[in-house]
Symmetry: C2
Subunit: 231 residues, 2 copies
């Protein structure tokens, strides 16, 4: 599968290496490829392109740009992203005072969906650090959760299968349409407090519920008809 | 211990019964005691008072009023609450569109603390339903978390011990001063989405972290020097 990753910070690079290790074809975007020379030397299977080339390359594209810059970064890619799945894992965080630049009655996920109405925007992965995004087993158990939202049901199913089949996420919870991105992004202040408290981002949330054995939260996407993409 | 509970909705009544079952002296406030006649008949150990009597009665007072009405309900109690601990478990939720009336750069917990500067406001219990507040074992395990925040360290320790000793909460995580109430209240949109998704409020969040055995999140308040209150 061809995956284009917009944004070559730590998150973009971690995702690029992980997808590449799982035998996917990856292009990572950079406006300054000269800064990536050591990365390029160490990861010869990963293509480097400008943002437009990367968006055009991907069958699925990932927004790994900083949340406050995402709208500006994605607008020029509108035509390249036409009818594609865009996985949005960014957060609209303002530092140092730690607040969200959009919140409560709107979200960055929704802003991106409105900016790119012909693109299938799927919000997910924004609630863990990049190492856990691509390897949830790092926490010593797979019993913790990833949330997902988006307007296109099939696109959501495809992204869920990517998370489960490639990265072995066990519990992917569909929160509904893209307005649920509000609830995903509003988890960040708590995530940051816990990160500060524990001195580490190596954690995630799990949902503990009554009668779990009879009603697994992980049972949402049992049919894996999307397997061909990962063969 | 004398506990005053302001607000006699389902949450207030559930807390009153639970504290009473744990041999604490309880007064529940109501502006219309005649509506509580069956509750009063079934719970003869629970005193009923008006809000001022209830706030005066309690060594610890609990705000169980609806979030949007909390400031109006608490302002007249300012002198009765002087130097006392006020446990705030309310959420500033606006329905039906589900948004927070205060968010991101402020919170209801902070608003109450500013309204009552001589009261020790402790935010906790706002992220679970009332049945789980008073009996976390209902979920079949105690490995799920309660958050707590507030400016007064000793008051936070006292409330933590109440949660652990009376209701058997195992993991109570101190998020810091009362500004952390933002992160606790901003969890509500996700809580509501999950409640809708699962058709039940009988769930809670747990924190899964690396090397948990070496670094338990529950180990924050090991010394239980506050035991006399519960004898």
């Amino acid at each position: 599968m061809k995956i284009g990753i917009i944004g070559s910070g730590d998150v973009g690079k971690t995702l690029a290496i992980a997808f590449s290790n799982h035998k996917q074809e990856i292009m990572l975007s950079s406006r300054s490829p000269e800064k990536l020379s050591s990365f390029i030397n160490e990861n010869k299977n990963i293509l480097i392109g400008n943002p437009f080339e990367t968006a055009s390359f991907g069958e699925v594209v990932i927004n790994a740009t900083p949340g406050l810059k995402s709208l500006d970064a994605l607008l020029p890619l509108k035509h390249a992203l036409y009818d594609k799945i865009l996985i949005d894992l960014s957060n609209p965080l303002e530092f140092p005072d730690i607040k969200l630049s959009v919140v409560n009655t709107d979200s960055l996920g929704e802003q991106i969906q409105r900016l790119l109405p012909e693109t299938k925007v799927i919000k997910t992965l924004n609630t863990v650090n990049s190492k856990i995004m691509v390897d949830p087993s790092l926490l010593g158990t797979l019993d913790h959760v990833m949330f997902i939202s988006g307007n296109d049901f099939i696109a959501k199913q495809i992204v869920t299968d990517i998370l489960k089949d490639l990265f072995k996420w066990k519990h992917v919870i569909d929160l509904g349409d893209i307005t649920a991105a509000r609830s995903q992004e509003m988890l960040l202040p708590l995530w940051l407090k816990l990160c500060e408290k524990m001195g580490s981002g190596a954690f995630n949330f799990n949902i503990v519920k009554k009668n779990r054995a009879n009603n697994e939260v992980s049972s949402i996407w049992k049919p894996h008809y999307f397997i061909p993409y990962f063969e």
